[in-house]
Structures are given as structure tokens and as C-alpha cells.
Amino acid sequence: MTTTAADRPDVVAGSRAPDKRAPEGRGVATTAHIALILWSLLVILPLVWTVLSSFKSTQEVLGNPLSLPGQLRFSNYATAWTTAGIGRYFANTVIVVGTALVLVMILGAMCAYVLARFSFRGNRLIYYSMLAGLTFPVFLAIVPLFFVLKNLSLLNTLPGLIITYVAFALPFTVFFLHSFFKQLPGEVYEAAQIDGAGEWRTFFSVMLPMARPGMASVAIFNFLGLWNQFLLPVALNTDSNNYVLSQGMASFASQAGYAVDFGALFAAVVITVAPVLVVYIIFQRQLQVSVTAGGVK
């Protein structure tokens, strides 16, 4: 499942190159290229415009939208990073997403392993309730969740946000890893037991390393999902010192309507997008393989 399509060359039927090129076929290819180029432009141009605008002064932004910035105002980036607080939001996001990601991967792998490899009463019930947790909209839970956190004194704190992130990313993680642990051969487990390894040892030294490809895929999905999370922080983390990037961006944008520092707003957008985009371009092959492995199932 992992060595699928994205690795293969762009050929559907056979790797044999066609010896003749008919004009009809070439026409189709040209049309295809034109359509795909148009779509690519539609994707890229707004991003390019955003980058250009991030170097403009507010006056220039409000002027002709098609003009180039008069000079490269890197000061916009400084303003966004410090005055607008994007730097702090960035740090908060790294802490929250980083911690939540590590925790959910460990807890998720443990839970998926037990559910996949041990049979006991209630196993199915737990599995299906995880599945249900995946389908119900978070909005249904958001109000009671607010008071659960409030009663635990975790409201408006980073630990509170982290544990909520973990809880809501858990069903997906378990669901995905469950099928991975299920596929692992039982003989390996038996062998480890015979060699005298306990359950803990068997999991951490034998089973977990074998599930590494699955772990990588889930980690990528979870990272993007948590990095982009918006509702949970907006509802449960309203102290502006603890803002994460997504909500910080939203609040900055709504303030910018009055304070009007549009150059800094665009710079903030670039700061938010650039790191993820760079990581994506470096790991795009791996990511698309993950999408494939996750989606085709």
C-alpha cells in the first residue's frame, strides 16, 4: 500500500513509450496542459500577490493593487513579528502543536496496539465509539467542553489546549494505526514473548518500530490538522497572551480594519504560510504518498 501510485512514473499503461505521435493525441495533451496551467495560475497568483503586498506600505496597498511595491519594506515583517504579536503566537503554536503531536502519537499508538492485538470484552465498543468520535462535529461538544476545562481550571491555558488537541486527534490516530498493527505478523509477537520480553518491551522494541511507516503518515496528517486548528483555540483559549497562530491571524485581521497596517497583515500571512510551504516542498513526495495510503483505504 505504501509503494503506490505517487512513486510510479506518469504512465498508466505500460512503460513502453509510444513510437508514433498522432496529431489528435498531441492536441489532447496541449489542451490538458493549458487547463492545468490555468488552474496552477489560479492557485499561485493570489499567493504571489500576497507576497508582493507584504512589501508595500499601507498607502500602496490601498492604491493600485496591480502595482509593484516601491521598495522592499522588510519593516512590515518586523512589525508583524513584534508589534502584532505574530512571533509570540508562533512560539505558542510550536509549543502546543509539538507537545500535542508527541502525546497523541504515543497514546494513539498504545491504544491502537491494544485494540488491534488483544481481544477482551468491550474491545469493539471502544473501537466503535472512537469511530463515532471521528464523525460527530466538534461543534456539538464545544459548549460542554468549555465547562469541562473550566471545572478542571484548564480554560485559557496552554496545557488545557494541548490536552484537548490530543483528545480530538486521538480517534483518527487510533483508527488509522489500528489497521497498521492489525497487519503485523503474529509470529513476531510470539517470538518476542518466547525470548522473554514483557509486554512493555515487546511494544516499544518490536511492534512500534515495525509500525513506523504508518506512524509517519499519521504524524503528518496530525501536524497539519493541529497546526490549522481554529475552533478549539478560539473557543477555549481566549487569553491573547496564549493565542496560537490561526486565531492570532484572525484577530490581527479584524483589528487591521481599524488600525490599518495592511502591509504588516500581508507580512503576517507570509510568515504563517512560508514555513509550512517550505516543509511541504521538501517533503511533498512523502506527504503525497501518505495522502494516497490514507485515502485509498
Binding site: R16, V28, P65, W200, L224, S246
Partner: protein, 332 residues
């Protein structure tokens, strides 16, 4: 494959063998930590809020005061007479119909162009140098949804937005100062466009993978039988990947029934004449601005019901139009 026994038959035997071993500290602590810890987190922060929501939706709870009266289905009755909320339901349904449909048609078209749009009369082949398109189309998936919304809100802004400038440059001067998000006629289509822009690339990559997973001989056979590219796409590709399409439809529908992030970025107030107001926005305001927690959880229940109904409809439509039957044939 040959010894296809009753599901669970295999594992059960080995469990019986395991059970004979004594319950050591290693094993007991293992089960407690490995199952207990994740489950505790899941039950406290996911299950319990969902269950509480069902109860709160039947009360007039306003959160901070101690008074909480059981009011039965009053909240639901009130909801169905709440014109603004019903408007948001309608908007969500509209989104759940249009956004998945357009996204899937676009994604399928682009995926087809990449996989079987290649030139040549011999074998059906993929387009050369299509890796670039795949990488670029996928960009929006890694951009946070809130940022996608903010970028497009700027693009749509009258006067300083790039869209009006481009349109008037190519001669469409009536759009010189047109507020795409400020006019009730275009606010919803513009918002839908933004969501579709964000989704297409991901599903395009998914469909490309699915199409490449089809046995090449099938395409070869279709070609020998004289099917053109368009015919191949409609009669061969789509039926063979219909399970992927169904999954995509459900995911997209769920996303469209949410739409909270996009709408908050584009029109936080619900848009002109509430034309882009969605249930989650109304729920959020009712709960966290007005403090009507009982009433807002009832909205959440309606949202969940609509979501499940949507998934059910998609499954039914797929089953009734012969999804199962074809699947069996393909899997041989």
C-alpha cells in the same frame, strides 16, 4: 486467503494461549497504562462533552447562573421558528450540495488530465511533466484555512483587491469597485469558490492515486475497443474509483456543513442579509457572546443530525445506483 475462517477465530486461539500465563505486574501495568490512559483522555474530553450536550440541549441553561431548568424540546421548537437559524441551515445545505459537487468534478477532471491526457496513439498514458501541477495544486492543503480565507478576503476587497483591478483591466469596468463579499448576490458564490479553491488540490492528488491504482489492462482493453479519452474517463475511470468518490463526497460534505473557519475569515458577521451565515457561526455567537448555552447546544444537535443525515444520503445514493454490485465485479 484460503483458510478464511470466522473473523476473530485466529486471534482468539492465541489469546486463550496467552490467558494461561499468570497476570504478572508487567502485563497488568501494561494494560492499565496502554488502554487506561488514552481512554481516560478520550472519555473526559470527547465522550463526556458529547453526552452532556444532548442533556444541555433540553435545558434553558445560561451557563454561569446556577439555574438550569429542564425544558424538554422547547429549544428545538424555538429553533425551527428562529428565522436567522433556519437561514443558516439553508446556507449550510446549499454549501453541502454545491461545494462537494464542484470540487469533485474539478478534481476528477484535473486528475484525469494528468493521468490519461498524455499524447500518443499507442498506450493510454499520463501527461508528461505533470509533477509540477500536482505539487502546485496541493499548495492550498498546507495553508491554514483561516489564512486562505484572509488572503481571499483581501483579493475580493473592492478598490484595493486584485480581482476588481484585473477585471477592470480586461475591460469589465462594471466590476471596478464591486464588493464581492458585500453584495448578497455574490457573497455566497464567492465564499463557495474560496472553499473549493482550498479543497480541489487534495482531492486531485487522491484521485490521481486512485486512477493509477486501476489495472492498466483495463485502459488498454477500452482503447482496443475504440473508446476515446473522454469515453474512457466517464465509463471506465469514474465507475472504478467510485468508492474514493463516495469517501471524498462525505468528507467534503462534512467540511461544507462546518465552513466555520472560512466564513469567519470572509464575513465574520454572517454576510450581507445573512447570506453566508452558517450554523456553526450562529452556534458560536449564541454560546460565547450571548451565553445561551442550552439553546446553542440544541443547535449543535441539529448540526450533528444534519451531518449524519448527509452521510446516510450519500451512502444510500451510492448503494442504490449500484455501488456494491460494481465493486464486486471489479474485485473479481
Amino acid at each position: 486467503m484460503t483458510q478464511d475462517v470466522v473473523p476473530g477465530g485466529g486471534p482468539k486461539r492465541s489469546v486463550a494461549r496467552r490467558r494461561r500465563r499468570p497476570l504478572t505486574f508487567d502485563r497488568a501495568s501494561f494494560m492499565v497504562v496502554f488502554l487506561g490512559l488514552p481512554l481516560a483522555v478520550f472519555v473526559i474530553f470527547v465522550v463526556s462533552p458529547f453526552v452532556q450536550a444532548l442533556y444541555y440541549s433540553l435545558t434553558d441553561w445560561s451557563g454561569f447562573s446556577s439555574g438550569m431548568n429542564f425544558v424538554g424540546f422547547d429549544n428545538y421548537v424555538k429553533l425551527f421558528h428562529d428565522d436567522i437559524f433556519m437561514r443558516s441551515v439553508r446556507n449550510n445545505v446549499e454549501l453541502a450540495i454545491v461545494v462537494p459537487l464542484v470540487t469533485i468534478v474539478l478534481a476528477l477532471t484535473l486528475a484525469t488530465l494528468v493521468t490519461i491526457g498524455g499524447s500518443g496513439t499507442g498506450t493510454v498514458r499520463g501527461l508528461r511533466n505533470s509533477g509540477f501541477y500536482r505539487i502546485v495544486s496541493f499548495f492550498p492543503y498546507v495553508i491554514p484555512a483561516i489564512v486562505i480565507g484572509l488572503i481571499w478576503a483581501q483579493v475580493f476587497t473592492p478598490g484595493s483587491g486584485v480581482l476588481d483591478a484585473v477585471l477592470s483591466k480586461i475591460g469589465l469596468h462594471q466590476f471596478e469597485n464591486y464588493a464581492w463579499l458585500g453584495d448578497a448576490r455574490t457573497a455566497m458564490p464567492a465564499s463557495m469558490f474560496v472553499m473549493i479553491w482550498g479543497f480541489v488540490g487534495f482531492y486531485m492528488v487522491l484521485f490521481i492515486a486512485a486512477i493509477r491504482g486501476i489495472d492498466p489492462e483495463v485502459f488498454e482493453a477500452a482503447r482496443i475497443d475504440g473508446a476515446g479519452r473522454f469515453r474512457t474517463a466517464v465509463s471506465i475511470t469514474v465507475p472504478l474509483i467510485r468508492d474514493n468518490v463516495q469517501t471524498a463526497y462525505i468528507y467534503l460534505g462534512i467540511a461544507a456543513l462546518d465552513a466555520f473557519v472560512y466564513m469567519q475569515a470572509l464575513n465574520p458577521g454572517g454576510g450581507p442579509q445573512n447570506s453566508t451565515l452558517v450554523m456553526p457561526q450562529q452556534l458560536f455567537t449564541t454560546a460565547f457572546t450571548k451565553g445561551q448555552f442550552g439553546y446553542s447546544t440544541a443547535m449543535g444537535v441539529v448540526l450533528a443530525a444534519v451531518t449524519l443525515l448527509f452521510a446516510l444520503v450519500v451512502f444510500l445514493v451510492n448503494a442504490l445506483t449500484g455501488g456494491r454490485e460494481r465493486k464486486v465485479k471489479v474485485r473479481r
